[in-house]
Symmetry: C2
Subunit: 369 residues, 2 copies
């Protein structure tokens, strides 16, 4: 009984889902935007915003899932009307695509979130800022990722372009957080839900730079509970990543979420009995989920962002691999571009996060040299 998973989007997440598909003997097909995508081994090229293209792709697979959340919901609704199995469903994906819908639903579910408001005028923006110590975070409801579609502003004047463009916007209090966490979990279509331990994420310039697993001294029960309420309340299938702010008093507030494998879970490839990529495949195929136990007490992941000087990292494998450590290098087969997520490193340790980080950092530095 061969199962064929179809992934829309040919980025590194699709690439990393090919691995468990090979291991478990699933067929995998990717609808990619371009010939030279990270997932090209399993890819056909096509436009995910063209209904006919997506329908034809869907006809060749048992289930459709995603590398990104940019597929128009109308297209997914049309697939479902045709009887296609889409996981997560567009009903759930709406909340990942639209931050206004997400905030409204989180509020209904009593999930702790920052103060927020839907805004459509300069007056509303300025009024919210005034009530929140002169500073707030303005977000476009759709289209944001990796720091895009997000601005910290002190007056509506800084949002004139977005207001003029008529973009649906929401504004949020700028949370005075002490650190950021991420709670990764997965739910299959039958409702089985399983979480990994909450991790700490470290962003630089709005992009994830480091992930430490587990997050030291975090309220892991509260984090898991939030994820479970969201997974169930939103009807998520597949991996759900919930990005959290931790405040000085240890409280957790939901920042963003994603319904797919997530950068905060790359460490699970080596660091967990079941990787997030395998778990995502199991979940969207409605198979029992795998153990989320750690393979080691500690794991640290560092993103390999394109450095200032051209470097695809592969030319420095020799430097990295003469080091006596257990770092695992992952490259996504992308052309070099400064600041681009081109790969990541994961190191494990039975001793400490510091030891794992030291190993990963040594490898990182060797790849730059």
């Amino acid at each position: 009984m061969l199962r064929t998973v179809g992934i829309i989007g040919g980025g590194q997440l699709a690439r990393m889902m090919i691995v468990p598909a090979i291991e478990l003997g699933f067929e995998i097909k990717v609808l990619a935007e371009a010939e030279q995508s990270p997932a090209k081994l399993a890819a056909t090229v096509g436009d995910y915003s063209d209904l006919q293209t997506v329908k034809e792709f869907a006809n060749t697979v048992d289930v459709i899932t995603f590398d990104h959340e940019h597929v128009p919901l109308e297209i997914l609704e049309a697939l479902i009307a045709d009887g296609v199995n889409v996981q997560p469903s567009p009903k759930a994906l709406l909340f990942a695509q639209n931050k206004l819908a997400m905030r409204k639903r989180l509020a209904e579910l009593n999930v702790p979130i920052p103060d927020w408001a839907e805004v459509s005028s300069a007056a509303e923006i300025d009024s919210f800022i005034k009530e929140h110590e002169g500073e707030a975070v303005l977000k476009t409801a759709t289209g944001g990722y990796d720091g895009k579609g997000v601005r910290i502003i002190r007056s509506a004047g800084e949002a004139t372009d977005w207001l003029n463009a008529g973009k649906p916007l929401l504004i949020e209090e700028k949370v005075n957080f002490v650190r950021e966490l991420a709670q990764l979990s997965a739910r299959n279509s039958s409702g089985q839900w399983l979480a990994w331990h909450v991790v700490q994420t470290i962003q630089r310039a709005g992009v994830c730079a480091e992930v430490h697993s587990p997050a030291a001294n975090a309220d892991s029960e509260a984090a898991a509970k939030i994820a479970e309420v969201i997974a169930t309340g939103f009807g998520v299938t597949g991996v759900l990543a919930v990005e959290l702010f931790e405040t000085a008093d240890g409280k957790l507030l939901v920042n963003e979420l994603a319904m797919r494998p997530h950068n905060s879970g790359h460490f699970t490839i080596e660091g967990s009995v079941t990787s997030q990529f395998e778990q995502h495949l199991r979940a969207v195929l409605d198979l029992p989920l795998g153990s989320t136990e750690g393979t080691s007490a500690f794991a640290v992941m560092l993103n390999l962002l394109g450095p200032e000087t051209a470097n695809t990292f592969a030319e420095h494998f020799e430097n990295a691999w003469v080091l006596e450590n257990t770092s695992h290098i992952h490259l996504y087969g992308k052309e070099y571009r400064a600041g681009r997520k081109m790969g990541h490193i994961t190191a494990l340790s039975s001793d400490s996060l510091q030891d794992a980080r030291d190993q990963a950092l040594a490898t990182y530095n060797a790849l730059l040299a």
Copy 2:
């Protein structure tokens, strides 16, 4: 600096090499015999015994390596004359393809082997049998694998067909071994050599059924030394598997060898910091080798052989995955055939081989149910 590895042969070993290629960002191309090969994700179809086909394939890659040892040496010599990088080289591969050449060279290197002789007549065979307690093992010099090309005989009468066919033959004493071991190691073209711990292999009906890592109470130093002498003496690059007999007094004798990832090393995917498939890619690209440390104290691998009743195992994932254990299932995407190697299971344990085996066996039984 993109490196492209070309693999001749589209079987499960090629399939499992695709995984580290994806992870490390190497390009990978496979020359497969048929459309529906286990390695089809990276495959082009072509005849490996046709020089022109292999030459064209070689032109698209940086190094040629192998999923099996059946490529005619003349073809590989012709590639080398053209400046193609072939790893392991035909000079080394000769010893994996031809058991007569292998035995001669092992004798020269003073590696412990069973008593043996080259034979080409019934008289020679009967004389050897007479000197060895009435029983011996007759092998064709080439073309043998998984029990094929090997016969236990008590008289030359049982070898008439092979003698008539004029096949080059060797005869060996039937070693009264207590168990079989396998020593896996790898060597890169610069000469760096690294071994995994010696494992125990359990054969049923001439096919590998179980691998236990590490082999309990084995002379691991002697096993590693034998592998190092062979790897160096034969000029092996890539993974080298040395199959060993262990006699009642703990002595080790070389039985067979293979210059490629090997069934006895499948446990390294989860059970070692560096899997044999990643190590093979590193070695043939002449990159530094990775740590062969275990990720867990104990690992057991069970081969999934096609059972008597049609079963591709995938239809029983549900049964296997409701078990609370950490077994990893691997399927090779092969059509069902009784007795066929269709996949394997690896389970790890920090407690004991017995615990790892119990887990793997529970999963195995669930996949049959």
